[in-house]
């Protein structure tokens, strides 16, 4: 039986990088913030388990680690998708059925607003207005703006992103 092991290799690499971090910061005064910054660089976000391990290694209470993570805007506790989908819910899009676009996106991706798909392909967010009211309803995927949308188009557009 042959199975792909590259996932495991990626994890092992991250693990090794994390271990290196611990060695570097274990006795470093005030190391919590730099270690969180670097751990986030390794994992793309701050997994709960990694936070537990940081707390243990640095001998800092868990609640304090969480308090620091949630204080600074830079830290993300949930994985973010490779593609950030932003459905506009500004006034113009709202009256033109922006919420139906959002519903279509939610249904297609199987996630709620603010969530990320399990395969880490998409993060779904809403935005107050992207300034393309003439094209309402609209949605942004990464830096591309898609306008004059009807719910039926949403799936096809989303599928075009890797």
């Amino acid at each position: 039986m042959s199975s792909c092991t590259c996932g495991g290799q990626v994890e092992a690499k991250k693990e090794a990088a994390l271990q290196k971090l611990f060695d570097r910061y274990r006795d470093y005064k005030g190391g919590l913030i730099p270690i969180l910054q670097e751990a986030q660089n390794i994992y793309g976000y701050l997994p709960k388990d990694v936070l537990r391990r940081i707390a243990k290694e640095l001998r800092i209470p868990l609640s304090k680690v969480y308090g620091v993570c949630t204080f600074y805007a830079q830290f993300h506790l949930k994985p973010r998708g490779r593609n950030i989908v932003r459905v506009c819910l500004g006034t113009a899009c709202h009256v033109r059925g922006g919420s139906k676009i959002l519903e279509a996106a939610k249904e297609h991706l199987g996630i709620d607003n603010g969530e990320t798909t399990e395969d880490l392909k998409y993060t779904l967010e809403t935005v107050a207005c992207i300034g393309a009211c003439g094209l309402s309803s609209c949605m942004m995927v990464n830096d591309d703006t898609h306008g004059r949308l009807v719910p039926e188009q949403v799936g096809k557009i989303l599928d075009s992103y890797e």
Partner: protein
Amino acid sequence: MEMVKLIINGKEVEVPSGTTILEAAEQMGINIPRLCYMKGLSSAGACRLCVVEVKGARALVASCATAVTPGMEVQTHSPDVMEARRTILELLIANHTPDCLTCEKMGECKLAEYCYEYGVKESSFKGEKHNYPIETSNPFIVRDMNKCILCGKCVRVCDEITGQNVMGFAYRGFNCKPAPFYDDELVESNCVFCGQCVAVCPTGALTEKQMQKKGRRWELERVKTTCPFCGTGCNFDLLVKDNQIVGVASNPTSVVNGYALCVKGRFGWDFVHNEKRIKTPLIKKDGQFVPASWDEALDLIAARFKEIKEKYGPDSFAALSSARCTNEENFLVQKFTRAVMGTNNVDHCART
């Protein structure tokens, strides 16, 4: 000790250096309101209710965190101070569940007390309020963060007294709140349910689950007692209504423990009124436990001990004592074992 002279509300006062303005005022019988200050905990200076006017200062200063200086002139209730305190109270109640009529803390709530004192009936601020779910998933503590005023005493007591650090401040700004790791519920955290946080909480944010609907705070008689669970000898007050214990409250005058208690002392009193509690000695007769009088039971024990000692010798006897006994009781156990039974076979559950 170096003494410092200052003037509070026009009267000169002399206090040891290092004393805070709040403490100095207290010595003169002036009551300054405070929500985040507590003797024995570090000062946060966060609630700002204790602000006073100090001549020459750019803004009002937090009296709980500011030490007196020589010649300082302090006004504790000037118009600016009163305006600030009233506004702060209004800001706090604007984001607070207004269910005082059914609130468990009613009667002991510091926020209600100060609103009464400062005549704050309602808030002139309309707007968003927190809408957190109320946490009731553990057997001891009810957490209603909608009533939290972020004094942070729970955070500090968990750190500085219990040393458990379950609670920390999470998030920031308007969304700031004390929370365990990952904002999980207490049962999922490393909380040991000592309940110190409940004891110091000035509002209804943290209340004792066992006391819900058991009585208003002013109906409860406080009976000082010693904890029966171990030999530490912690003192606390039993809260009694209609001859029934409904709860336990810290008694800060306790020499041994101050207001600190453990889960057993604070929440483990429910055995007292338990129906299954054994109230008389039981003697097994024909395979059944039968209630007996103390005289009857003690006579039986004495007779059987004597019999065993005569038949098998003193070393056939051993005594194991309990940490729930007092020192005196433990002394008597070993005295009895050695002097009466004639053996050194005596031990204690806490010896290991």
